[in-house]
């Protein structure tokens, strides 16, 4: 079993956990990611997650399948929040059940690391100073000091 899902309401780990129960399993590992009140030296008040739903679920399930194949775990599950979240809220929940604890820990770690890098979900932080920003996107603009036409292909523009 593996399933990746997006939720616009509170995640309920106690309900999700039941999906991992398996008579062949003696080990269960879970990871919870919470909303933290600071990032990069700035005070965070709240945040918002936005997802590209169909591809997020597809890529998330690919990661879970990889984890099961690589580590030989029985079940893998990941649930991710979208929408506005407050400090302390549960943002992402990952869990794995396996015959033994070693592969459960390893697979759980693999899943959360891959989800952060591959699944099309974006996070906007709102700061104490009134500013806000999309995490990992703030340094991706074309350098403003360069005149824009330097990047163009010489075509006329509208």
């Amino acid at each position: 079993m593996n399933r990746f899902s997006l939720h616009d309401t509170l995640l309920q780990p106690e309900l999700l956990r039941a999906e991992l129960q398996d008579p062949t399993c003696g080990g269960y590992a879970a990871f919870e990611g919470w909303v933290r009140d600071h990032n990069d030296g700035r005070t965070v008040l709240r945040l918002e997650y936005e997802a590209f739903g169909p591809l997020a679920v597809r890529e998330g399930e690919r990661i879970l399948t990889e984890a099961r194949q690589r580590f030989g775990v029985a079940r893998a599950r990941c649930a991710h929040r979208v929408g506005p979240l407050a400090i302390g809220d549960l943002a992402v929940w990952v869990a794995v059940s396996a015959a033994h604890r070693g592969e459960a820990f390893d697979a759980c770690r693999y899943i959360i690391d891959e989800v952060k890098h591959r699944v099309p979900i974006w996070k906007k932080e709102y700061y104490l100073d009134g500013d806000s920003g999309w995490v990992n996107c703030e340094r991706c603009a074309v350098a403003p000091s360069q005149p824009h036409r330097a990047h163009g292909s010489g075509q006329g523009r509208a």
């Binding site: 591809l55 099961r68 030989g72 099309p120 979900i121 999309w134 990992n136 991706c140 603009a141 163009g152």
Partner: protein, 288 residues
Amino acid sequence: MSAPELYGLLLTGGRSRRMQRDKASLDYAGKSQLARAMELLTPLVARCFVSIRSDQLHDPYRAAYDTIADIKPDLGPIGGIHAALHTYPERAWLILACDLPFLDRATLQHLIAHRASERMATAFRSSSDGLPEPLCAIFEPRSRQIIEQALLQGQQCPRSLLSRCDVELLQLPNPRALDNVNTGEEYAAAQAALAAAAAAPAPNDSGGVLRLNVRYFAVLREQAGRSAEQLETHASTPRELYEELRRRRGLTLAPEFLRVAVNDEFGDWRAPLADGDTVVFLPPVAGG
């Protein structure tokens, strides 16, 4: 239960009686079918093998790859599948015939993405007669017993073998993908069709106008001031489309930081777009 790791097997031990030539060595646009099929299959599986008859062990084309020789002679495709499951009984096998020149990567990806590892096999329903296609299919380790039984009973037809298995049946996304080539005439027709496809201009090469759907997320949604739009464009690839949208919508992100998705799957910046496609430019992600 976790899914067994997937290996690939290209069946090349056939006698090609109707063709009277080795199907694996048939040439399409300068490349043998053996090489074309292995190029398709290798990146999609953990390991990839060529299934051979024991008298093909020293064939130089086949020896360039990892091979698995039939254990019992002259059993046809089932003999090859049997040898693979016997050699690596813990692995699942994506089995491919060597006479499918129209097979494409998307078809194999579809098969793998919809694999039902809890059943014995996953296969496509034939677009000509609706029956399961055994020679572009995934056989799970648990199918081994049925295959051995079939061989003991002298049963050699792969189709009737598959009908005895618990099979997950899929619709073929591209109905031509599994058209096979058995005769000289079919070979000539396939060569001509593939040459024509290779020579055809990319969909929007002729300066045509495409109607595309664009969806925006996160920072790009804010910059574009909208979450979706439909537009007509002369752009023929995602790269050209992004350049156009950067100007039209004032997007500031440099394309090297973005990924592109076309029709809800990751795509290629240089691949031609088709009319009606939905394109999404993905800013750097930050889930978790």
